[in-house]
């Protein structure tokens, strides 16, 4: 099984440990991974803020780059949602027939990480070990965009020594919303407060999700409030084993 890793612009820069965890995890599962260094961004931030032409040029770059990939794995449900929901509209409006065809051929080969594990590899037990109390936050794009459903739960339930605690108001948005977090910072913060109340009520050690974007927002506030609860991308949990537990030096 070969796969090409699209790390995403923000993971690359802000959360490289998630990328390292994805590599460790997938190689452990026998996946031959490659990383195309020409990659940059999927265009989501520009598309969602209204910079259509700019988003198009980034989308075109993505499609051309991964034209020959066997499949593409992306540890970010919002980026996959961008590709699945908005690329064809962008190419319809600004692209040409050739590009649309390339995209149509590529689309079925693009996977969010949890989808890749459960659907493509057929794996729910990835041999992980993470002896902590964990609560899962359902990022909106994964929940409603990709319909990941219970994939993350199935994966987490098989992690040895992990105590999974459910989060109240699971489906309510945490308030990140990309540039919304800055353009509407006060409302974003109010939504964040509500989400943190629910997260802290779980008394978990870690809050995990499919997206570091939500976790950056939650984690940033947790740190500001000097809470001990940490955030960790699901890849970090799934990469953690008894031989190589999370927290040990790589």
């Amino acid at each position: 099984m070969r796969a090409s890793l699209f790390i995403t612009c923000y993971n690359d820069t802000l959360f490289p440990e998630t990328g390292r965890a994805v590599v460790r995890l997938l190689e452990r599962l026998g996946v031959e991974l490659d990383f195309l260094p020409a990659q940059t961004c999927c265009g989501q931030m520009h598309a969602n803020t209204g910079f259509r032409a700019e988003a198009f040029s980034q989308a075109r770059r993505f499609v051309q780059l991964y034209r020959d990939a066997e499949c593409v794995v992306i540890p970010s449900s919002s980026c996959v949602a961008m590709i699945r929901d908005q690329y064809s509209g962008l190419f319809e409006e600004l692209g040409n027939e050739e590009l649309r065809k390339q995209f149509a051929a590529l689309l079925p080969r693009v996977y969010e990480l949890s989808e890749f594990l459960t659907d493509k590899l057929g794996a729910e037990d990835v041999g992980a070990y993470f002896p902590h109390r964990v609560t899962y936050h359902a990022s909106c794009h994964g929940l409603r965009g990709l319909h990941v459903g219970d994939r993350p739960f199935r994966l987490l339930k098989n992690v040895r020594s992990l105590e999974l605690v459910s989060l109240a108001n699971l489906e309510r948005c945490c308030g990140f919303g990309g540039t919304f977090s800055v353009k509407n910072a006060e409302v974003s913060t109010a939504m964040l407060d509500a989400k943190l109340t629910d997260v802290l009520a779980t008394d978990a050690d870690y809050c995990t999700a499919l997206d570091n974007s939500c976790l950056m927002h939650l984690g940033g506030a947790l740190h500001r409030r000097k809470k001990s609860l940490q955030t960790i991308h699901i890849a970090g949990i799934l990469a953690s084993t008894m031989d190589h537990p999370h927290g040990a030096t790589p």
Binding site: P37, R52, F180, K183
Partner: protein
């Protein structure tokens, strides 16, 4: 609430976010209605099929709007109604005022209709010396309290019983009034009953117009609608052109999804249907004012047309996590919440309320609950593109940090070499703001909007791509050393 003068959403939200009473009321009300709605949807085995049909019927109507409106005009006129067409708010106001003058009206009783707020009818009536009496309990509370609605279906949910008591006591001259909801309601009942029985002219909106029969349908909870539709001599119904349905039987779909979505009930307490004039039953003069006011323009836009499918249930509002924090006032428009965020700027031809399409985290909860499947996030994104396109020709854009940032980011994303350079530059620059524990607590400019409530972890010393490159390099070295040894 006038979108032309309302402050932008982020500004308007500020005082509301500090009003804990309002936030508590809004959160409570929306949670209650949302829970009721969810229960009834779970109970309804054919909910998905109903939703599919409702969406299809509404889309079909819009695609054939001219035909159905003309049919409605014919059948309503044949039934004894008079149909008027208003291109915009000013024209609608003028038509209504003309009818009222012909009636020598000094007072009108009104059933809640957002369309009337949209055209700013009440101030025009007041200016013409005509008292407009709102008869929905919530609207009455707001009118007497000189306030604005905060929710489509429960407009006074930001007002608690003590506040209502105070308003009624003062405006109805009832100093001894208690704040018990029963007593308050009884006071409203008595006050309004006198009006219902004496005022000869009423103004209503419409939930649906039936093309096949020329009928109008209104759904309500309190009975004031029935009072206004039945007792006066003259009835004026103001309706957006998108309200039409093809046939009477289409109500079998729309009524099922509307009540469950709006108030979490299987059916709302009262639904009234009437066709033109019926001799000896109800008003003997009946006017319908069909309002365009920007709707035909929305109709012509591929992605935006679905905005007009809306049946004003309010479910999007009840599920919206943004609305839950701000209530309706922050939107500066009769239409608030997710639907308001897309409808209001469009009715203003994208000349006003440009902050509203950004008043969303794009979570998609609204789309999930919309009974007519309006893909609100899709429309929000489309409207954002229009706002940015306006900005592209404005000189002020060069002073807008967000605009500059987006242009810079696009430049950077166009090539890996630039991207890596930007990563290095960013890493260096942010070192200036990084504390000893490896976290950033304060950033300048746009960054300050992040750090107002969140820390930011410092940029790691090594990006993922550099780590990968290093790993590849050492793997290659090992492989070639291995080769050499052989």
């Amino acid at each position: 609430m006038d979108p032309r003068v309302a402050p932008p959403f982020p500004t308007a939200a500020l005082p509301i976010l500090q009003n804990m009473q309002l936030r508590k009321n809004v959160a409570h009300a929306t949670d209650v209605i949302q829970a009721k709605r969810n229960n009834l949807v779970a109970e309804k085995r054919d909910w998905h099929e109903l939703r599919t049909s409702a969406a299809a019927i509404r889309a079909h109507v819009l695609a054939n709007l001219g035909t159905y409106l003309e049919q409605f005009e014919t059948t309503c006129t044949a039934a004894g109604g008079t149909v008027h067409w208003a291109r915009d708010a000013a024209e609608a106001r003028a038509i209504i005022l003309r009818i009222l003058r012909e009636e020598n009206a000094t007072e009108v009783i009104k059933i809640k209709t957002m369309t009337s707020a949209e055209i700013q009818l009440n101030p025009a009536l007041e200016a013409a010396g005509i008292a407009a009496i709102e008869t929905d309990l919530a609207e009455l509370i707001l009118q007497l309290g000189e306030d604005e609605p905060s929710h489509i279906v429960v407009p006074a949910l930001h007002v608690n019983r003590r506040q209502v008591r105070d308003i009624f006591a003062q405006r109805m001259g009832l100093p001894e009034l208690s704040d018990d909801p029963e007593a308050l309601t009884a006071a409203a009942r008595a006050y309004l009953r006198r009006k219902f029985l004496s005022v000869p002219t009423a103004i209503s909106g419409a939930n649906f117009l039936i093309a096949e029969t020329g009928s109008v349908v209104i759904v309500e909870s309190e009975g004031n609608g029935r009072m206004c539709l039945t007792l006066p001599r003259t009835l004026i119904t103001l309706a957006g052109i998108e309200k039409v349905l093809p046939r009477f039987a289409d109500l079998e779909v729309l009524l099922q999804v509307l009540a469950r979505s709006a108030t979490g009930e299987r059916m709302n307490p009262y639904t009234s249907l009437w066709s033109g004039i019926t001799p000896s039953d109800g008003p003997q003069r009946f006017h319908v004012v069909l309002l365009d006011n920007g709707r035909s323009e929305i109709l012509g836009r591929k992605v935006e047309r679905q905005t007009l499918q809306c049946i004003r249930c309010g479910a999007c509002m009840n599920t919206c996590p943004v609305y839950r924090q701000t209530g309706g006032h922050a939107y500066g428009s009769p239409y608030a919440g997710p639907i308001g965020a897309i409808l209001t700027p469009q009715l203003e031809h994208m000349q006003h309320a440009q902050s509203l399409p950004y008043a969303s985290s794009l979570c998609g909860a609204c789309y999930e609950v919309c009974p007519v499947k309006i893909n609100i996030p899709e429309v929000l994104i489309e409207l954002r593109a229009q706002v940015v396109n306006q900005e592209r020709s404005q000189p002020s854009r060069w002073f807008d940090p967000m605009y500059l940032g987006m242009k810079a980011a696009n430049f950077v994303f166009a090539g890996a070499a630039r991207f890596r350079l930007a990563q290095r530059v960013g890493h260096l620059a942010l070192r200036l703001f990084t504390g000893k524990d490896g976290w950033i607590r304060r950033l300048p400019s746009l960054g300050a909007r992040w750090t107002m409530s969140r820390d930011l972890r410092a940029l790691p010393d090594q990006t993922f791509r550099d780590w990968w490159a290093t790993r590849e390099a050492s793997a290659t070295r090992e492989a070639s050393q291995h080769e050499e040894r052989r």
